[in-house]
Amino acid sequence: GESVGLHLPTLSVQEGDNSIINCAYSNSASDYFIWYKQESGKGPQFIIDIRSNMDKRQGQRVTVLLNKTVKHLSLQIAATQPGDSAVYFCAEGRGKLIFGAGTRLAVHP
């Protein structure tokens, strides 16, 4: 069925390296995609979003890439810091937000 999923459940990176978190979606009708960061015991926080008429969007240290051909979404974090350690969720919007299962990012010194 239609779903939003993630390629890697856990990602470990060294502090200072770049991180790439991937997400696949199955519904080409989705017109909005969003990334959230959730720290342990807290609610998800908005990171960055992108509409389907865009391929790339940049924020502060983060970039979201959208490849509609293969229905793939990625979140790139530059110069990963210990404070980036969290679970990252992608979500697709088609009337409502549908969330993926999440990827845990662990940053090691």
Binding site: Y32, I34, Y36, G41, K42, G43, P44, Q45, F46, D49, F89, G93, K96, L97, F99, G100, A101, G102
Partner: protein, 113 residues
Amino acid sequence: SQTIHQWPATLVQPVGSPLSLECTVEGTSNPNLYWYRQAAGRGLQLLFYSVGIGQISSEVPQNLSASRPQDRQFILSSKKLLLSDSGFYLCAWSQASGDYEQYFGPGTRLTVT
């Protein structure tokens, strides 16, 4: 600026007891409101959403109910809790204009014993 509050932050309840979780939003009017449940290490499951006072849509059949007695107040309830109701409950709001971006509250950790 807008803020969203949830309480209590944590709750331990016995099986069969009632439940009432409250969510309030400040700094906006006529928001869309949402209740999600998150099992440990899992994603977010949408339980209910509301586009206005007294308007509740249920996404999944379950032991819970929701109410919206005021524009910026959203309540999640149960008459008799089950063990399977344990989880992390999140309230969120979004603009009513169709903007997808949702803003989440701090969550309530519910443990049913």
